[in-house]
């Protein structure tokens, strides 16, 4: 695995220079900062805009987390996939990888370095976003205690790795960014559809993106998340291994 640390360093620099990290961080940060405020003030904004509209219920801390999970699992991860959809296609089309591979850089090191850096930058963006939501929710709803907030966030974070593994397969298989993204979307859709079918419903990885609020509010128990998390981790590892295997047979 010679060259892995050097390529990881190159990937970090590249992600900063091409603003990929900045954009992803900004998207996650905005959602992290907005979730609590939107939950708190949406009723007031709506009443101000439409005077005759009456709000029946007071917003609660759970509404802030609802906003967070809705935004991050939807727009946040979509932005992540779109931004990293070009992580290999750009190098294919320019031919920059050819020089690295002919230098003796192993193909496994390339995939692992790209995965590592994308995962680390997603992790930073994700948990900063979580920290902001957590902080603002604590400030705006002082007395509310939501014990499973971190556990719910952990579950969604695992899904991020799964998306990234699927995306890596797409990036290795297809030379166009758009096709890689479409592939990831397609596989994600298949997994989510499988989750509807009864025998799979209990351990579908998509429970990790849809039942976070249930976990925080106490409707779902942490034990309900064990199987889906395990399956997500297995899919992530398998996906990464498949991506490496396919990349070894890819003609550059």
């Amino acid at each position: 695995m010679s060259g892995y640390p050097a390529f990881v360093k190159k990937e970090f620099i590249e992600n900063i220079k091409n603003h990929r990290f900045l954009i992803m961080f900004a998207v996650f940060l905005v959602f992290g900062m907005m979730s609590a405020f939107l939950a708190k003030f949406t009723p007031e904004i709506l009443s101000a805009l439409a005077a005759d509209m009456e709000m029946n219920s007071e917003p609660v801390a759970l509404d802030a987390w609802k906003q967070f999970y809705k935004n991050i699992s939807g727009v946040g991860f979509s932005a992540f996939i779109i931004l990293y959809g070009s992580c290999l296609s750009g190098e294919y089309s320019k031919g920059t990888l050819v020089l690295m591979v002919t230098k003796g850089l192993s193909r496994k090191a390339i995939i692992l370095a790209k995965y590592t850096v994308a995962a680390v930058l997603m992790t930073i963006s994700y948990w900063v976003s979580y920290a902001f939501t957590y902080g603002y929710t604590g400030v705006l709803w002082v007395d509310t205690k939501l014990p499973n907030a971190a556990l719910a966030a952990l579950a969604l974070w695992v899904v991020g790795f799964m998306y990234l593994s699927i995306l890596m397969i797409g990036c290795v298989l297809f030379r166009q960014t758009f096709t890689s993204i479409l592939f990831t979307g397609g596989i994600a859709a298949v997994i989510s559809l499988l989750g509807i079918i009864e025998p799979f419903a209990k351990f579908s990885p998509f429970n990790l993106t849809t039942q976070n609020i249930d976990l925080i509010s106490g409707i779902a128990a942490p034990s309900d998340f064990i199987l889906p998390t395990l399956i997500s981790v297995i899919i992530s590892i398998m996906g990464l291994l498949i991506a490496i295997k396919l990349f070894n047979t890819k003609e550059l």
Partner: protein
């Protein structure tokens, strides 16, 4: 000893057979010209040598080790310069060489020293701007520097001069000649003057096979016939020349251009004798008479016919 040996190599893309049972070897210490038309399969062959493309059949050995597709073990002996080398545009040449050095596993202190040596060899020691702003010639030179970083036994250059202006071309050829003392160079091209300028051996690739291979002298000796150019000052003189009984048998394989005629024959001495007889009998006086040296170009055109 051969640095590179290719045996019975074949490769198709779809139904199109690009390389068809190709055999070739590159001896150590040579500057080897790999000649072929555009689309003849030069790049495909080189990419298979580098393990970037999977051959349909055949074997490739680099420094007596077998090349395996997708693996990079044999690449430790090879430096590669693609036809259009592309780098990470946000890096400067020293930064790029540092990345290459780290990927190869050269110690940090040595990378700096070797990087500086190579950059000054290719004339880029003063270039501190980002590679994104480089001209094609500068990228080509940096390409050579990165290819030589490992002090490879074999340097493979894919049409290194094709897209360059005459000055850039000469510079690249000079660099290749300079390094040939320590490194075997295999370079593909369709510019035959480049081959004549620096190569000592060459191979012609045609229809997926090696049509001709050997030292330049051997290749030129393969030329089946010699040519003689005769030029007259007026059209009627040429006409009269062609009507002579002794000349008529030679006309069938001749080429004509304005008042020039090029005669081909395997026995040039005999042709010259009959020509001089004709001139003395008819009083015809050519303005120019020249035996044409066989060139790689004429041989190349003959091969691809």
């Amino acid at each position: 000893m051969n640095v590179l040996t290719i045996q019975n190599l074949s490769k198709s893309f779809g139904k199109q057979k690009i390389i068809d049972n190709l055999n070739m070897s590159v001896p150590e210490g040579s500057i080897f010209g790999f000649i072929g038309q555009n689309g003849a399969g030069k790049t495909t062959t080189m990419k298979m040598v580098l393990g970037l493309l999977q051959p349909d059949s055949g074997e490739i050995h680099v420094c007596n080790e077998t090349v395996c597709f997708g693996q990079t073990k044999t690449n430790q002996f090879i430096g590669y310069l693609p036809d259009v080398p592309e780098f990470y545009n946000y890096m400067t040449p020293p930064q790029y060489l540092r990345l290459c050095g780290a990927v190869i596993g050269i110690p940090k202190s040595k990378i700096e020293q070797r990087g500086q040596e190579l950059l000054s060899l290719v004339g880029l020691s003063g270039a501190t701007k980002q590679i994104g702003g480089f001209s094609r010639g500068m990228k080509q030179r940096l390409g050579i520097a990165q290819a030589l970083l490992t002090s490879p036994k074999l340097l493979i250059c894919d049409e290194p001069t094709s897209a360059l202006d005459p000055v850039g071309r000469r510079e690249i050829l000079d660099i290749l000649r300079r390094i040939s003392d320590t490194t075997t160079v295999l370079f593909s091209t369709h510019i035959l003057s480049d081959v004549e300028r620096i190569c000592d051996r060459a191979a012609f690739l045609n229809e997926g096979k090696i049509a001709v291979c050997g030292t330049l002298a051997e290749i030129k000796a393969l030329h089946g016939h010699d040519s003689l150019l005769v030029e007259f000052s007026a059209d009627d003189e040429l006409l009269m020349f062609k009507q002579q009984q002794a000349i008529k048998p030679l006309i069938a394989s001749s080429e004509e251009n304005n008042r020039e005629i090029i005669l081909h024959s395997c026995n040039m001495k005999k042709v010259q004798q009959s020509l001089f007889n004709v001139f003395s009998e008819t009083g015809l006086c050519p303005v120019k008479m020249e035996i044409m040296e066989p060139s790689l170009e004429s041989l190349f055109l003959e091969v691809i016919k």
